[in-house]
């Protein structure tokens, strides 16, 4: 469904990604793991159009999307839950969700999507009039995911959904990811929390210094000695 072929990208004279190739099939959940500074967030930002592709090709359902700016990617069906959630803190929960449904196609089915999202995360319905910035970290993550879902994406990108959250809340966030998977969405998730992310994805890629070092099914990676030693502390 989403495919990257030898994609390179960077900031100014700094190159962060070196010929990254990956493929995600419909309905699959794929993880990208790796250390700090490996280029995981850059990869997400390239896919959602925040950073331009310098070299290589990116396609969604066979359509080239390498040259589209971020605001056009949403129409194509890519939604991005950014690192650190990045909610609009002084907008209410429901206003954040409304912003998530900004594109014309999403506005037309706003009520229906809102029902779906509130069903998925009933807590948000209770908090719908509250300012997003005043909620707990876990609730904010819930809201950030819900906001991305409002555009009814084909592919959901999640950048470090567990970052900065208490261990118990991290558990809840991974339960949210399970829920989203159950809805049949295609998910690409970046995480440092290797052990837990391998529990929710089908496959994963290991990104180191801007290049894919390893890939395999979650089971394969869980059994891989290098991953176990370097990323799971086993």
């Amino acid at each position: 469904m989403l495919s990257l072929a030898a994609v390179s990208a960077g900031y100014g004279s700094f190159q962060a990604l070196f010929g990254v190739s990956l493929d995600i099939k419909r309905g699959e959940a794929v993880g990208v793991i790796g250390p700090n500074g490996a280029g995981k967030t850059t990869l997400m930002r390239v896919i959602s159009g925040l950073i331009p592709v310098r070299d290589g090709a990116m396609t969604l359902e066979g359509q080239p999307i390498s040259d589209l700016p971020a605001h056009r990617m949403v129409e194509q069906g890519i939604a991005h839950v950014p690192e650190n959630r990045r909610l609009f803190p002084r907008l209410s929960v429901e206003e954040n969700l409304r912003i998530g449904a900004f594109i014309p196609a999403a506005r037309a089915r706003f009520a229906e999507q809102l029902d779906w999202v509130y069903n998925l995360f009933p807590r948000l319905k209770d908090r719908r009039a509250q300012l997003a910035g005043t909620m707990s970290g876990g609730e904010q993550q819930m809201c950030a995911i819900a906001r991305a879902l409002m555009s009814k994406p084909k592919v959901l990108l999640m950048d470090e959904p567990s970052a900065g959250l208490a261990p118990l809340v991290v558990q809840q966030v991974f339960e949210l990811v399970h829920k989203i998977r159950a809805e049949g969405l295609t998910v690409l998730i970046v995480e440092q929390n290797v052990q837990q992310v391998l529990e929710v994805v089908d496959r994963a890629y290991l990104l180191e210094v801007g290049a894919i070092k390893l890939s395999g099914t979650a089971a394969e990676l869980k059994g891989n000695d290098f991953i176990r030693a370097a990323y799971m502390g086993l």
């Binding site: 159009g49 912003i99 555009s151």
Partner: protein
Amino acid sequence: MDIYLLEAIINGILLGGVLALLALGLNLIFGVVDVVWIAYADIVMCGMYAIYFLYAEYGVPLPLACLIAIIGVAGLGVLVHLLIIEPVLDSPPLNQLLATGGLLFFLQSFATLLFGTEFRNIGVRLPVLEFASMYVSFARLIAFVVGLIGAVALYVFLKRTYVGTAIRAIAQDREIVGLMGIDQRRVYLVVSAVGGALAGLAACLLALQYDVHPFIGNTFGPVIFMICVLGGLGNMIGGFVASFVISQIIAIGGYYSNTELAYVFAFALFIVLMFIRPRGLFAP
């Protein structure tokens, strides 16, 4: 209470309505685009000339002349953004200030060149209302009511529409709105048009009360900046409240001495407040 003091207070409240409209427009643009339009009051001046020529010279009915002026100044706002703001969006704030400051001198000089320095009045004489032996100018009353209607309309637009919500969102997190499918550039154009329309509406209300001349912007431009800074730049509600604080200081100061000294007092108070609360009266 002294009846003349009460009259001054009422006139102060009425003055606040128009100032609030301009403070809202300036704050809206600053909050979203992050550039201070130094020439904002001079864009109002352009609108006042438009009304003068349309109504007083070419005989266009006043409501239609006002409508044309509002649309025209909204268009001017878009033009200012495209020609002057967009090229300096990523420049240091000082360069942006110099660019919009340059526009101020350009507009004032250009108006002097085209229309000369004479004071022109649209010649609408509205009655002075008298009640309980106090005198209130009808033009000011209209300006106040229409100013408030404009402020409410802006509030509803920002609160109830998708574009309005996007405008508030972009002021809170500029970078991430792209991920919501929002084209930042288009929002900036909408905001410049709305800011221009508010300036156009203010021009209609001011043309009823004041003569237009190329430097009319200088008489209320600095007051509007003072209001915006006092309310906290970009803080719409703060600016709205500060409009009435400043207009009261000017009105009551004018009652105890004269208007000129009232302005001196208002600006002196402003400087002192900037030492005490540098981020505005309503900063958290």
